[in-house]
Symmetry: C2
Subunit: 110 residues, 2 copies
């Protein structure tokens, strides 16, 4: 098999850069799980602060990972929706969940 290790590493580091930080992946996961309102997303991720979530969602909007829609209602309703692009992280997240589960089984075995 012909493998270009430098190219592989570049691809890997691009991904790591993109999902960098401890909150990006949990926020993507929350959006893909159907959470749409700020407080809903916030409540679904224990430990995240309002400030961090706000920062994440702004960055994710700039990176076209999330679509923010403001409904002119009283009170104003804001919804966050994952883009198709955002959903491309599904497989990575799936593998991470599977790994975390196995890891927990190992750790709690003894």
């Amino acid at each position: 098999m012909d493998r270009d290790q430098a190219e592989e590493l570049r691809a890997l580091q691009d991904t790591l850069f993109f999902i960098g930080g401890k909150w990006r992946i949990p926020v993507i996961n929350a959006l893909c799980n159907g959470h749409r309102r700020f407080r809903e997303i916030e409540r679904s991720i224990p430990g995240i602060t309002t400030r961090m979530l706000s920062k994440e969602l702004k960055e994710m909007e700039m990176n076209k990972l999330v679509k923010r829609t403001v409904y002119d209602d009283t009170p104003v309703l804001v919804e966050y929706e994952p883009t198709t692009y955002c959903r491309t992280f599904g497989k990575i997240i799936g593998e991470m969940i599977a790994w975390g589960r196995e890891h927990r089984k190992e750790v709690t075995k003894d």
Copy 2:
């Protein structure tokens, strides 16, 4: 489908915690690609400093991700080997490489 979102998130965050930092995954990848000596690993990861790699390998040894063997030779030969546990990250790394490649294609399309 019965899904426990809190449990999923816990598994996800365990994994993120474990692979935290920008160098853990590239170092695991280098080891799984067959690099064994410190300088070899270092050279295979552009941007990593001697200090960062040294810190990573020490932490990975403590976490049983890497086995360090010292051969009593002149000069002393030290080899790092990925454990079976280390290799369980293979699927996550594979998905990350695939994502990074797709991302590059998208970005360079226009």
